[in-house]
């Protein structure tokens, strides 16, 4: 079983501590999330010593770190990393309820748009994604396919 001291190594001369993170346990998004949280209090550099791991190096910003501070920072980073990883999983599993609550909260707060708001809204030609081609006319749909089939035939003949 790994302890913090086994996966985190202190470089006193560089005033930094490095952690090696198992990439199969912590998705990259979680590493980014945790690293971002620490940008204001230390310098953060990420690297990949091998395909299965990410190394996070946290460097003390100003002056000499108090005794134990680097290990404590590594410990806090590990906690934040776990938090980010778990949060990503929860968000994936609870996406529907999170989205519906947020949508209801914001729509309740914003209220219905006024005529001025609607006037400013950009109703473009491409209103929405249409993967099944439902909004396309018959001519558009089969005319395009017909043209593409002809172009493909021409390419194959070359």
């Amino acid at each position: 079983m790994s302890s913090l001291s086994e996966i985190a190594s202190v470089d006193a001369a560089q005033r930094s501590v490095a952690l090696t993170v198992d990439a199969s346990l912590y998705p990259l998004g979680a590493v980014y999330g945790a690293a971002y949280v620490f940008l204001d209090r230390c310098y953060v550099l990420l690297d990949k010593p091998d395909a299965a791991h990410v190394r996070v190096t946290l460097s003390w910003k100003k002056g000499e770190p108090p005794e134990g501070a680097l290990v404590a920072m590594a410990g806090e980073f590990a906690n934040e990393l776990l938090s980010c990883a778990w949060r990503a999983k929860i968000a994936e599993e609870s996406r529907a309820v999170i989205e519906s609550t947020t949508a209801r909260a914001l729509s309740g707060a914003m209220g219905a748009p006024s005529l001025d708001d609607l006037e400013k809204f950009e109703f473009g030609d491409e209103a929405f994604e249409d993967p099944l081609g439902i909004a396309m006319s018959w001519e558009e749909k089969y005319g395009k396919n017909k043209k593409a089939a002809e172009e493909k035939k021409e390419e194959a003949g070359k």
Partner: protein, 71 residues
């Protein structure tokens, strides 16, 4: 001189460039190099502590821009 190695799987090249550009006024030199797996910056400044700070700020900025772009 401080060498910063930004792994291509973890940082976007444009983010590294943007960070280097933003911090260039505070450095003496910032040299760029490319390796198969890394973007590399070599940073010099007027004294070791300043060099450390500039290199650190470049690293943070590159990460910040990469993360914001990944969202």
């Amino acid at each position: 001189m401080i060498e910063l190695r930004f792994h291509r799987d973890l940082y976007r090249g444009e983010s590294v460039d943007a960070a280097a550009k933003a911090l260039a006024p505070y450095a003496t030199t910032i040299d760029r190099a490319e390796e198969p797996a890394h973007w590399v910056l070599r940073v010099t400044a007027s004294n070791p502590e300043r060099e450390r700070r500039v290199a650190g700020e470049i690293a943070n900025r590159a990460l910040g821009i990469t993360v914001r772009g990944a969202g």
